[in-house]
Amino acid sequence: MKNENLYNYLLGIADNSLVLGQRMGELCGHGPSLETDIACTNISLDLFGQVRSYFQYAAKIAGDNRTEDDIAMLRKEREYKNVLLVEQPNTNFAYTIGRQFLFDVYHLAFLAELQKSTDLTLSAIANKCIKEVSYHERFSSDWVKRLGDGTKESNQKMQDAINDLWTYTDELFHQTDADKAMVAEGIGVDVTILKENYYKQVNNLLEEATLEVPESKWFQKGGKEGIHTEHLGYLLSDLQYMQRTYPNMEW
């Protein structure tokens, strides 16, 4: 492939939206209220829309007759590049919100930088996505505040979720080789420069939500290199079921 670094870079971005979209889609019809149900489905819908833009572009770069669906659904576990954070399960609504919040703050800052990409397609996609993601960030931040400040029970649940998910936050700022190459070309975003502000923003909000900022400095990574938690395999078996069972068909 002529432009392998860009291709891999796109997968890295898109897989986050793909896997998180899949997780949010699981909740459809099962939300704690009709309004939150609609909001979660809406976030899922936005993320899959973004996925399509990225993978259509990736398919064009690959130039080997693969479609957006082949790229989304026909890779093996180790070829998915999403961060570990987004594949974590919907243990309860606090985990769903915590995962969304910890990702959204990053996602929004990332897209703001991606808009400046010298690759015009990428910058156009970022420009479209950022409007959606700023809504996601507002939604998840508001809910962290509600659950943190709400009742003793909700505060405890939200705190547990943040404590458990915290270990996956540092990976957001880890650079792969494709990332570095793309940063050097002015196409990609240097995620390392987003880190300080990310934690500042997250910590402020947690404090506002009367939650404690976890002190743990032990972090997990590996997703960007395709080494995932055990949760991803099950998510992929759902995602890939139709394409694997009925190969080479149109739907």
Partner: protein
């Protein structure tokens, strides 16, 4: 109020409806009118919400990104219809929580069709094509119903439903024109959803209760049997067009009537499902009640936060 006065009001009320005037929430209305509307509108809202489950079942497994996005959007529309219809029902002086309570305790019904399982992807096509198709036939006349909030809700709902119906049929076209395996999947879905879809139009006229009063209030404009005939006449050519066979050996065009004759509907099955013993009645209720109970701490937290925020704001103002 004297009996005489009430009679007078009822007379004026009936005349307004006969003149095609809309009844609005603050207008006087007979208690029976209010109750009947609460029942029918909430049943409709519940159907939208429970109806999210069989289709939600395929969101994570949709075969392509395009189909996944369309399915998500469709199920989201249904949630939106539910929200809209609950709000319209609340204008009659009942709260959404009370309506949920009725659903969760089995006091209120929802459309029985959603008690059938969605076992293959083709069911997403069949539901859109047949179930939404039947729903539209039921609902289009309601755009002119007498109760204003319901009529206005139905105008919006019907627009979206007709889009869903086309979307479902398009899934079926694709499958019917696909590989033999895909075509078989489509035929199998049609076989399973055809009869329950006919049942959706309600019991036959001779056993249907409420019809006469509902006709007067424009809650119903055509009889169940007429609606069913309309649905069959409209759907059979669509099946023919894509080479699928309606699973009814007695189905035959009747030149004289200008309609299709069709075989006997298994009403025992219908009543079995209505009475709670269909293939998925228990699962659907378990999912709804489960979501509600598991969500209680979230709703409590939102309320508590809102209260605290209000207090803080008041303190600040002082």
């Amino acid at each position: 109020m004297s009996e005489e006065q009430i009679k007078n009001l009822e007379k004026q009320f009936d005349e307004r409806i006969a003149r095609d005037e809309k009844i609005e929430p603050k207008d006087w209305m007979p208690e029976k009118y209010r109750k009947t509307h609460i029942r029918q509108m909430s049943q409709h809202a519940h159907s939208e919400i429970v109806g999210m489950l069989p289709e939600g079942n395929w969101i994570t497994r949709a075969p392509s990104l395009r189909r996944k996005v369309a399915l998500l959007a469709k199920v989201q529309d249904e949630a939106g219809h539910g929200l809209y219809l609950y709000s319209a029902t609340e204008t009659l002086g009942v709260s959404r929580d009370e309506l949920y309570e009725q659903l969760h305790t089995g006091k209120a019904k929802y459309s029985s069709i959603f008690n059938y399982p969605t076992v293959t992807w083709a069911d997403m096509g069949a539901i859109g094509w047949l179930v939404d198709g039947a729903a539209i036939i039921n609902q289009v006349p309601l755009c002119n119903t007498s109760y204003g909030p319901y009529a206005r809700a139905m105008i919006r709902v019907c627009k979206e439903e007709s889009f869903h119906q086309r979307q479902g049929y398009e899934i079926m076209i694709k499958l019917a024109n696909g590989t033999p395996e895909q075509k078989e999947m489509a035929q199998d879905a049609l076989n399973r959803w055809w009869w329950p879809s006919l049942m959706m139009l309600g019991p036959t006229d001779d056993v249907s209760v409420h019809t006469e009063q509902s006709m007067k209030w424009k809650l119903k404009r055509k009889s169940n049997d007429d609606l069913r005939q309309q649905f069959i006449d409209q759907t059979v050519p669509q099946a023919d067009l894509i080479g699928l066979t309606i699973p009814d050996p007695d189905l035959k065009w009747n030149d004289e009537r200008g309609s299709y004759d069709f075989g006997d509907i298994d009403w025992d099955e219908f009543w079995q499902v209505v009475k709670g013993h269909g293939p998925c009645n228990k699962e659907r209720m378990k999912a709804r009640v489960g979501a509600w109970e598991e969500g209680e701490w979230v709703r409590d937290a939102a309320m508590a936060h809102a209260e605290k925020k209000k207090e803080r704001n008041q303190k600040q103002a002082v």
